[in-house]
Structure formats: structure tokens, C-alpha cells
Homo-oligomer: 187 residues x 2
DNA sequence: AGAAAAATTTATCAAATGATAAAAAATGAA
DNA sequence: TTCATTTTTTATCATTTGATAAATTTTTCT
């Protein structure tokens, strides 16, 4: 998915602002398994996925939590860095070879403070992530792990093929062994 | 907490813009137990809490999920209405008599599209809610219900006094009976 | 205060998930 | 292909939480 489509999908921007916006991006290719964002430092850039898939996760005493998967069109972002300029809990790794659009947070913030169309794009971006977060939270509170798994494969059918089961389990908030058992009991 | 403090806490705005912003609010007083936002219609306003406490929840086939509590300074908002202009799953009720600041979404969107300072305030508002949502999600995935309960009383110690236990339980994603058992096992 | 209603606790049994270990299957590198 | 590694499945037992019911305590209303 190209950067023009990605930006438009979030919120349309007038032509001259969008041109300026798009010029601020740089294209990068990075290999599978690369850890592109580390929780122990403030990340200075954000990325959009042209091609490939990434995983955001947090490390804790025992084990890790998968916060999100990002497929084509999604953002690779440390919210703590982007929003609070603080190092945080977010690690992001690439699960496939990826082509990415990269922009520095500083450059982005300059655009926000000088161009009202881009500022409103930035608002819409945060708002849409917020809606997703709320929906995910509700679905997590509500159903059993089985229901959440079925919902996930319905919403993101290709994910199962592209991502190891252990990571899916950690996204669903259960162990890999439990997910395997759930899968056995479905069919 | 007055509207000036509430707005500033989210993101500072220059004096003339803020004056314009604050003039767009209306103060309203509403009684305990009032359902001020209903999931079956698009809500045309958002509110900030000057005094009191509110609860956002969703109704489903069996039971309901408490999405959030809002104390002084918090926002009472149907994200689905505010962001997508759609009716959604969010009901909001007042748990105490409340004094609120009210603004229509239309008025707010006009301010966003004409004033870059207010547009960036709107961006910061969504971003901060997003950070909260992510932190809540992680803490929910990570720990047991007991840990989440302890975390909640540490972060919002007055909440326990102000809110019935059943609602706290539904916020934690467990039944009221389970929370009672957890409390019995702590001390 | 006294009665009714609501909230909280306690108890019992069932269901879902975790922890651990081991086997089986799939993947990747030489 | 073959071997080593990783991933997935299966099995067993322990723990957590749910469902239900009943008892107790607290709150609300008159």
C-alpha cells in the first residue's frame, strides 16, 4: 500500500499539504526479525507499512504481551515515544521482510504546528487508533478466549498464516498451549 | 475542576483561542443516576466533569461491561459518536450529582477546522486517551484480577468509596462475587 | 426507628485457563 | 535429503474464575 493511500485512508488532506507531507517520508527496506523499536530508548521516528507485517510487544518479568500486529497500511509506532517523548514498554519487531515509510517525530510535529490540515490528520490518526483500542478492550472483557480467537481469524484471516501461534496466543492474552487446545476443540 | 484547568491539563492553548474555546461551553447540572448518553442514538455533545463521577458501559446479551469511570476533569464522551458520528455501544450514567461543561460536537469540529491551536488540542486529547487505553490494555493482559484490583485502588483510591463494588468488578472484567472473594483473600 | 431494597459476603460445584512435560509435526540450514 | 531446531499438539494436574444460591450487611425511604 503506498503512502498516498495510507494517508488518505486515515483522513483526506488538501493537495498542497499532502505533497508537503509525503515529501517528508523516506522509504526503507528492513529484514525479517529486525527489532526496529526498542523499549529502552525514545524512538525518534514512526513508520507506515508499505509491505510486510510487524508486531508490537512488551516484556515483563515473566513473559511478554503482544499489544498489536500491523499489516499493510498500519503504523509502527511507540506511543510512549510519539505522544509523551518518553521511553516506554513498546518493542516492535518485523515478522517478515518489510518495506516501510519513515518520518521523524520532530518533522511531523513541525507539520502539525504549521499546517492545520495536517494537524487535523494527526488528530484523526489518534482518534482512529483510539476507537480500535476501545473495541479491542470491550471484546477482551466480554468473551472467552475461544470467541476472541474466532473473531480474530474472521477479522484478519491471513494473520494465522503469517504469524506463529505463540504470538497469536500472547495477543489473545492466553498461553500458547491453551490456544492449541482451543483450536483442537473448535472443529 | 474548572474548564480552564481541564483544557490546560490536556494541552496549553494561546489566550485568544482559549477564550473562544471556553465561550463555546455551557454549564449544566444533572442528578445522580441520569443516563446522559445512550448507545441507541448518536450523541451530539461531549462533556467535561467539573464535579462528580460518571461511568461508561456497554450492554450485551448477558450483562454489561464497564469501559471507564470518569472523575473530576475527565471527559464524558461516546467515542463512536464523537469520532465516527455513529451510534454505538456506549452508555454513560452519572454515579453522583454532577456539574458538567457541555459542548456540541459540531461546534467543536468547527473550531478544529478553523483554529490550528484548538486542532492540536484535539489531537492531544485523543492521544492522551490513547495512551491510557494502551496502558489499561497491557495491565489487563498481564496480571490476575487481584493484581488489577490492587492497581486500581492504588491509582484511584477514592473510587472504591464512591462506586458500588459490582461496577468495579465489571470494570475489572470479573463478576461481583469474584471480586468479593478476592477482597476477602487480600487481608 | 423500622421496613424494604440494594449491596456485599460466603459457600459449593462447574468450567476455563495455567504450568509443566513429553510427543509429534513443521521448518530451516548444511 | 538429513539433521537440528522450532513450532504445535496432547496429556495431566493445579489454580482461577464463573454460576448459582443463600445469608448477612448496608443503604434508602417513609
Amino acid at each position: 500500500m503506498n503512502i498516498n493511500q495510507i494517508l488518505d485512508k486515515i483522513h483526506p488532506i488538501n493537495t498542497s499539504s499532502k505533497l508537503k507531507f509525503i515529501e517528508s517520508f523516506e522509504e526503507v527496506s528492513l529484514p525479517k526479525n529486525q527489532l526496529i523499536i526498542r523499549s529502552d530508548k525514545v524512538e525518534k521516528s514512526i513508520y507506515f507499512i508499505k509491505k510486510g507485517i510487524a508486531r508490537t510487544f512488551s516484556n515483563f518479568e515473566d513473559g511478554e504481551v503482544t499489544i498489536a500486529f500491523g499489516e499493510e497500511g498500519a503504523t509502527i509506532i511507540s506511543l510512549k515515544s510519539y505522544i509523551l517523548n518518553q521511553k516506554g514498554y513498546e518493542n516492535i519487531e518485523l515478522l517478515e521482510d518489510c518495506e516501510l515509510y519513515k518520518i521523524s517525530v520532530t518533522k511531523l510535529q513541525n507539520l502539525f504546528s504549521t499546517d492545520i490540515d495536517i494537524a487535523n490528520w494527526g488528530r484523526k490518526f489518534a482518534e482512529q487508533e483510539l476507537i480500535k483500542a476501545e473495541q479491542r478492550f470491550i471484546s477482551n472483557q466480554l468473551g472467552t478466549a475461544t470467541e476472541r480467537y474466532l473473531e480474530l481469524i474472521k477479522k484478519h484471516p491471513t494473520l494465522i498464516q503469517r504469524v506463529p501461534l505463540g504470538l497469536i496466543a500472547s495477543y489473545l492474552g492466553i498461553t500458547q498451549v491453551s490456544l492449541s487446545r482451543i483450536r483442537a476443540n473448535i472443529s
